[in-house]
Point group: C2
Chain length 203, copies 2
């Protein structure tokens, strides 16, 4: 199913850590951004099939029944899931696949893909900084923000289990770090097609 030349990149990090700004810097010609299914309503400006596939709870549960999800979770009464078809789409286009996914989804992907996927955590410089960033956004109620902070705290506990961590202090530095990680991971022996030539000559 998977071609080792193409990376499976799993990116996790609490809202407010700057995940989406960093991911925006990856070129669409090389990276396919896995689109999740969700039962929540679209926010203003969000596009079906780009930000999410917005479906009803009934539809979501049908997809669970049919085994169409790689992983799914229920967070704050909302369902989120990654369909298996996303991986096929990425690889048929000859692109790396990027999963922008919360920690429970990432944990399921770790169980499914283990060493095959690259797990990157995007963290805020510290926890109080995260609080500040979320309050500055001002799009949500205090209660919702507190729920998010509690969740962020739970997520941050997982950092040492990830392959890499980007402590996002400066956007440009973080983008360049993510790109270095991608370049370095592409130099893994098991991902280098050109290596087979050399091995054929010596083994």
């Amino acid at each position: 199913m998977t071609n080792p030349q193409f990376l499976m990149l799993v990116i996790t990090g609490p809202s407010g850590a700057g995940k989406s700004s960093i991911l925006k810097a990856l070129p669409e010609e090389e990276f396919y951004f896995s689109v999740s299914h969700t039962t929540r309503a679209p926010r203003p400006g969000e596009v079906h099939g780009k930000d999410y596939y917005f479906i009803s709870e009934k539809e979501f549960k049908e997809k669970i029944e049919k085994g169409e999800f790689l992983e799914w979770v229920k967070v704050h009464d909302t369902y989120y899931g990654t369909s298996k078809a996303e991986i096929e789409k990425a690889f048929s286009q000859g692109k790396h696949i990027v999963f922008d996914i919360e920690i429970n989804g990432a944990t399921r992907l770790k169980y499914l893909f283990k060493e095959q996927a690259v797990f990157v955590f995007i963290a805020p410089p510290d926890f109080s900084e995260l609080e500040k960033r979320l309050l500055k956004r001002g799009t949500e109620s205090k209660e919702k923000i507190e729920k998010r902070l509690l969740r962020a705290k739970e997520e941050l506990k997982f950092i040492p289990w990830f392959d890499y961590v980007i402590i996002n202090e400066d956007l440009e530095t973080s983008i360049s770090l993510l790109k270095s990680i991608i370049v370095a991971e592409s130099a893994r022996p098991y991902r280098l097609k050109a290596l087979s030539l050399i091995l054929n000559q010596v083994l």
Copy 2:
């Protein structure tokens, strides 16, 4: 003994693959290049304490006896060894340490350091290319070159066991790849001192 913030970088690759040209690009302010001991005579221009510590076979054997070597090997009647003191020197200067080392030395370091060190193989684009490069040098007899090629063949068999491989087609690309590997490896959770702040806040 070791500080996880500082990398132990083990670089292996056959002569003619372009190892030294790539390593020259790493700044001396950040990288300490481990100097090996050898019993071979210095070539014109080689400096004791910089290229190698040139010592006699008697002195070399005494150091073996005293357990001063991290690893040592005998290649083509010449002894080569890495003294334990090199690591102390690097870390006391607050630098990453780079071991430019042939495959048997690298294998011993793998046994000693396992996941602690980063193992990078620098390979020629293909085996016949290596032959061409070695012949072009013209500093050695045909017999010596053939010995080197045979040895190179043995070394190349190890590539899939390394963490990363740099197929050196273009020097600038290879240098930039090595730098990306170093940046990426510095983003390993276990190498990030700043992470302890976050963990203290959430665990």
